[in-house]
């Protein structure tokens, strides 16, 4: 029989190249869709050519698994609401971890004699896969509010964590010494699952973008480790690309909150910072009717959305208002903070869904230098990301965090339900500034009201 192994490896090189080109095309919104298609073609040819390998002798189970998996994937992709993308990505991270875990476990449990190297890398793949899986399930439960979003801490958590890590290392050492022992992998698996839960539980709801990015990275690293266990180049390349992507996003999210990764992962253990800084000034409410007169005269309008906009489902009405403002001769832009929303880039997707052009979506660093030129900045459901305390109040818990300087625009409208503070629990001096007006109420209703005023 013809040995396809050489051909298979050449096709893997082709697939790796296509993955890389696919990611390259993802660098611009105009070519991104093509990039995704290219990446999926790479996956398809990799799967098809693998089926020719001589180790595969029966196809019934494979076909059944692929059919069922495709149907579930298809259903999830078609059904998911764009507001729930963070939950879906979390679940997918977990599923990816579980898949690598199964491969690693099968390798360890196989009846062949394995080299020490293979045992170690399989063990690592097992651990990363298990941590990714249980961590992602907890992240998903937090995001979908099945469990409470605030950090969950208990006495002796640090000691427990250290004990779990030591136990896992001991399992690894004894597995290398007794490769045929079948109970050690079970124990290690259980410990790693506990570890994943322990890692995510103490992380608060506001830090979810960091956690999702980190778990995304882990799911890639799990595939990468499985690649080491199976000596499969393509698994290593693809897994490393995903791992690198997750690490970069994690880093961007941490920088956007002016915190280190260690600080995010352990912040649940730290006492809550209280500040007694008195904020001068008073809150000045404004009716939607009066807001309309200001907007009608505005030439340049900046919209600063936060997760509250998505909760209120206000993005579609905002797009309506945007069109009316543009017909009225105004320029409208959107300023999006890196940690607005529940995952990196979440706000952009929600606005794209509402048909806002990506050319009107600006990053914080693009907007801040010219923010004085805006006649009106409309803050919708955002709080901490526009908090000037980050710039001017030393001692504030968010001091030093890069924020969108909404307070420097000529007028600021803040659409808000009430006077509660943001995720970080910090007072916002923006609300007390001379040029700031609060429009209380549901953001969607307020915007609809403004749209009606324009129509009259």
């Amino acid at each position: 029989m013809f040995d396809y192994s050489v051909l298979i490896n050449f096709v893997y090189v082709l697939a790796a190249t296509l993955f890389i080109f696919g990611l390259k095309l993802l660098g611009h919104p105009a070519t991104a869709r093509k990039g995704n298609l290219l990446s999926s073609v790479a996956m398809l040819i990799a799967v098809v050519i693998t089926l020719f390998s001589k180790e595969i002798i029966s196809f019934e189970l494979i076909i059944a698994s692929i059919v069922v998996g495709s149907l579930i994937g298809l259903y999830a992709a078609k059904k998911v609401e764009m507001t729930s993308m963070p939950e879906l990505v979390s679940l997918f991270n977990g599923i990816g971890g579980l898949a690598s875990l199964a491969v690693a476990y099968a390798t360890i449990a196989s009846d062949q004699t394995l080299s020490t190297f293979v045992i170690i890398v399989s063990f690592i793949a097992l651990l990363i896969g298990a941590i990714t899986f249980s961590g992602s399930v907890i992240a998903w439960a937090k995001l979908s509010e099945r469990i409470i979003g605030r950090p969950i801490v208990f006495k002796g958590q640090v000691v427990t964590n250290i004990a779990v890590v030591i136990a896992i290392v001991l399992c690894g050492v004894s597995l290398v010494n007794n490769p045929t022992d079948s109970t050690i992998p079970y124990i290690a698996l259980g410990l790693a699952i506990v570890m994943g839960v322990l890692i995510v539980l103490p992380i608060g709801g506001a830090d979810m973008p960091v956690v999702i990015s980190l778990l995304n990275s882990y799911s890639g690293l799990a595939a990468c480790a499985a690649g080491f266990a199976l000596s499969n180049n393509l698994l290593i390349v693809a897994g490393a690309l995903v791992g690198a992507s997750g690490i970069i996003l994690t880093n961007i999210m941490c920088k956007a909150m002016n915190r280190s990764l260690v600080n995010v992962l352990t912040s649940g253990f730290q006492p809550v910072v209280t500040n007694d800084i008195k904020i001068e000034g008073e809150i000045k409410p404004l009716s939607a009717e009066d807001a309309y007169y200001v907007l009608e005269a505005a030439q340049n309008v900046l919209v600063i959305p936060g997760y509250g906009m998505a909760v209120a489902q206000a993005q579609h009405v905002m797009k309506e208002l945007q069109e009316l403002l543009e017909n009225n001769g105004a320029e409208v832009g959107y300023a999006i903070h890196p940690v607005a929303g529940r995952m990196p880039g979440h706000m952009n997707v929600l606005l794209a869904e509402a048909d806002v052009s990506y050319e009107q979506l600006f990053e914080m660093d693009e907007v801040n230098p010219r923010i004085e030129a805006y006649d009106v900045a409309i803050v919708i459901g955002a709080n901490d990301v526009v908090n000037p305390a980050a710039r001017e109040l030393k001692g504030s818990p968010i001091y030093g965090m890069p924020v969108i300087n909404a307070d420097l625009a000529k007028n600021v409208f803040v659409l808000k339900r009430g006077m509660s503070s943001g995720f970080a629990g910090v007072d916002n001096p923006l609300f007390f500034k001379q040029n700031c007006r609060m429009i209380f109420g549901d953001a969607k209703e307020t915007l609809s009201n403004l749209v009606r005023q324009f129509a009259d």
Binding site: L23, L26, I56, I72, G96, A106, S213, V242
Partner: protein, 91 residues
Amino acid sequence: MIASYLLFILVLSVFVGFELIRKVPATLHTPLMSGANAISGITVIGALALAGGEQTELATWLGAASVLLATINVVGGYMVTDRMLAMFKSR
């Protein structure tokens, strides 16, 4: 020998990954993540040989489970990414 050769591939891929992903604009970070999800489903090609090969019964079933899970990632990840990217429009 094999270990150092695999490590070599890993290091180069990580550098390529960093260079590529750094250029992805913030606007596309969510599709990037779901697309990365799909790519991490590459585990499927490792699982195929387990599910269809001459293995112990345990390894075969673990392989089949892994094929199923990774396929969810691949199909779901690419489809939802495409759905999102189709919404990104220029003026």
